[in-house]
Symmetry: C2
Subunit: 420 residues, 2 copies
């Protein structure tokens, strides 16, 4: 079979399963999630770890970065973590049980809007094999079939995980095909998945900016763009300096590789002479490389190297920070709306007016006042789960929980009504 | 300038306007809508009607269908109707004032989800010039700029309407560029609009299946598919026969050209011998052409011509009806899920079980029990306005009102919180 035929076959199986899944009671889905946890953590743990060891060995042979190996590696402890996540998903409220609109019209028609699954969700991701279980669990809980396409380096691990999940799901009575897995590593597979309109309902890429751009430009199936974050912290004239240093250091260094980490620090020019030495000292203590605008360099030619135009648009994902001194909050907002990716932005200020202006005018999924951008996350927001953070405006924006994996349907009950 | 340059220039102007519009108070937007109504109905009525006469004369010279001329034609009365619609839009609640989620987290972070405009909405439509005013009004009310691209036959009418709307909007203080109008008739313009990712936020095509398919396949900007309807009525074994005839006749004949009209009638085989003569008589009295499955032809070889496979998938938009006799509700649901376009489906039944099965298993935006599919409409649902009926699952499904022209934004207020 060609790559196209393989992908289409799996997608059609997922579509058929999705029709059945849409009517499976939540109790059955929860039982499947508990069974999946047990299978991953105990019954099939040895097979999964063995498959993962083979993947890790191949990756090591290619001399990849240590951080990459770390993301790829599974341990007994990490399997426990994954299993715990599956059980937490089972314990979440059923997103299909909500109805937020119901009306009886003057003609007697009763109209309800209920939540329904999206159908088949294609997830395209990179090295982390835990995404396989997390994403499958969230899709299933919301009544969706999934079609998983992980990174080629994790192929054996992912295959072993999917096998375990599928066995457990079947034992609980879920339809075969509910967890579709694309086991061809050819990049062509992504293109095929992304163009199965009418079979795959949405594509969610989880990975670097390159993957997301590729999907957005090459998929005819709707794509939800997630997780690219050129996030900013703006330190206003009236900021509490200690708070500003703490927030900036937390936003940059607590986990530099994630999408809600800060990439650019904007500083009000009136506070810059006082603030810059403090934040420079704190950042240097955390081994952060500093790239500054001309005004920064004028204030401190020792700790800063010059930032280029490219720096303002770069998601470093690393211990590098671009710093720009701006004349006021208006200039800060302009800079942000020009260079940001619509993820998370924060202002540190004591001015109610500037806080409100920043909230209103900054165009991003999450806009903070006096807090670190690192909180943009489904768990921190209290959603209990997260499939990704949408940086687009259509369908979902910000952390996507179970509700964002559903659509709606209008149910209308009449007694013979006809329209005039 | 090339088509590409013209479209890009207008789109960039709309984008700039959208940033300003996002913060314009609702009172100013409403004042603009009232001024637009006045301008269309009185101040500029003569110019608009003169421009429309020229369009109608050109269309007549091309010998197009009478129904087409009717859609294209504006009269003083129709301008009053459009103005009334603009005032109704002004009177609707502000969709940006709602917040449906607000929480204070254990760490003291206060999180609110508020509604924000989508940004720039591209509307691509066909002959009816009234869409120009209706669509612009709904986009503006929700805080969006629009980029309008109407049919070439209505170019002069649309240009005159946009000129009137723009003058009125400017007099009320709205930013220039808020109502973008693509005055090039080249089809290339659609392709350019649909690929301005990062400038145009969403494309909503309003028109025939051909236009919608073209947009879905050729736009990189997200598209909301609207208004194709292969809608079904299923008459179950236990249906009240009089109710079933009334619903079927209403769904087929009250306005055959619209998307919520019935195209295929499914009949339970046990009730077919009693029901078919009744519905045949009623449909024939309304000049409906009947195309039946083999079983229909066996029961009535006089009034039916044979239906082909193609008929089951066709949106006639005309006084033609496909009829199929099915063994039970399961077969009816299977047929619907295979051939429908996800718009509106109805069952006529006295069985609670079958009604519930139909509601649960039919995959469509609106699923009816004992009522005509003709009610799928923003006004009939009580939304007060409608930009179209979405037949897709992402972002919006079913009638789209003002709320569906918005996105969300999370506002997070802290007191210096940093993430562990």
């Amino acid at each position: 079979m060609t790559v196209k035929e393989i992908v289409e076959q799996k997608a059609r199986a997922a579509k058929a399963a999705s029709r059945q899944l849409a009517t499976v009671p939540v109790g059955v889905k929860n039982a499947a999630l508990y069974a999946m946890a047990e299978q991953m953590e105990n019954t099939d743990a040895a097979q999964i770890l063995a498959a993962n060891e083979a993947d890790v060995a191949s990756a090591r042979a290619k001399n990849v970065k240590a951080s990459y190996i770390d993301r790829l590696t599974l341990t007994k402890e990490r399997l426990h973590g994954i299993a715990k996540g599956l059980r937490q998903t089972a314990a979440l409220p059923d997103p299909l049980s909500e109805s937020d609109f119901s009306v009886v019209r003057p003609n007697g028609l009763s109209i309800r809007r209920v939540r329904v699954p999206l159908g088949v969700i294609g997830i395209i991701y990179e090295a982390r094999p835990n995404v396989t279980a997390d994403a499958a669990a969230l899709c299933l809980k919301a009544g969706n079939a999934c079609l998983l396409r992980g990174g080629s380096e994790a192929l054996k691990s992912n295959a072993a995980i999917v096998e375990a999940l599928t066995k457990a799901a079947a034992s609980a009575g879920l339809p075969a095909g509910a967890i579709g897995f694309i086991d061809v590593t050819d990049r062509e597979a992504v293109g095929v998945m992304g163009n199965l309109r009418g079979i795959v309902d949405v594509i969610i890429p989880r990975g670097g900016a390159g993957l997301i751009k590729y999907c957005a430009e090459n998929c005819r199936v709707p794509v939800i763009e997630t997780g690219t974050g050129v996030c900013h912290t703006f330190v206003d004239e009236t900021a509490d300096l200690t708070m500003a240093v703490n927030i900036a250091v937390n936003a940059k260094t607590s986990r530099p590789s994630v999408c809600n980490a800060m990439e650019t620090l904007l500083v009000h020019e009136r506070i810059a002479p006082a603030f810059l030495p403090l934040v420079t000292y704190a950042m240097k203590a955390k081994q952060v490389e500093l790239r500054g605008c001309e005004k920064c360099l004028a204030l401190d030619g020792v700790n800063f190297v010059p930032a280029t135009e490219e720096d303002w648009a770069t998601e470093y994902g690393d211990l590098i920070l671009a710093v720009k001194i701006v004349p006021d909050v208006t200039a800060a907002i302009e800079h942000i709306n020009r260079y940001n990716t619509g993820h998370s932005e924060t202002i540190v200020t004591d001015s109610v007016q500037n806080a409100e202006k920043f909230r209103r005018e900054v165009d991003a999924a999450a806009v903070y006042v006096n807090a670190s951008t690192r909180f943009t996350d489904g768990f921190e927001f209290g959603f209990g789960a997260e499939i990704g953070i949408s940086t687009q405006k259509l369908h979902a924006r910000g952390p996507m929980g179970l509700r964002e994996l559903t659509s709606v349907k209008y149910l209308i009950d009449g007694q013979g009504q006809c329209r005039q």
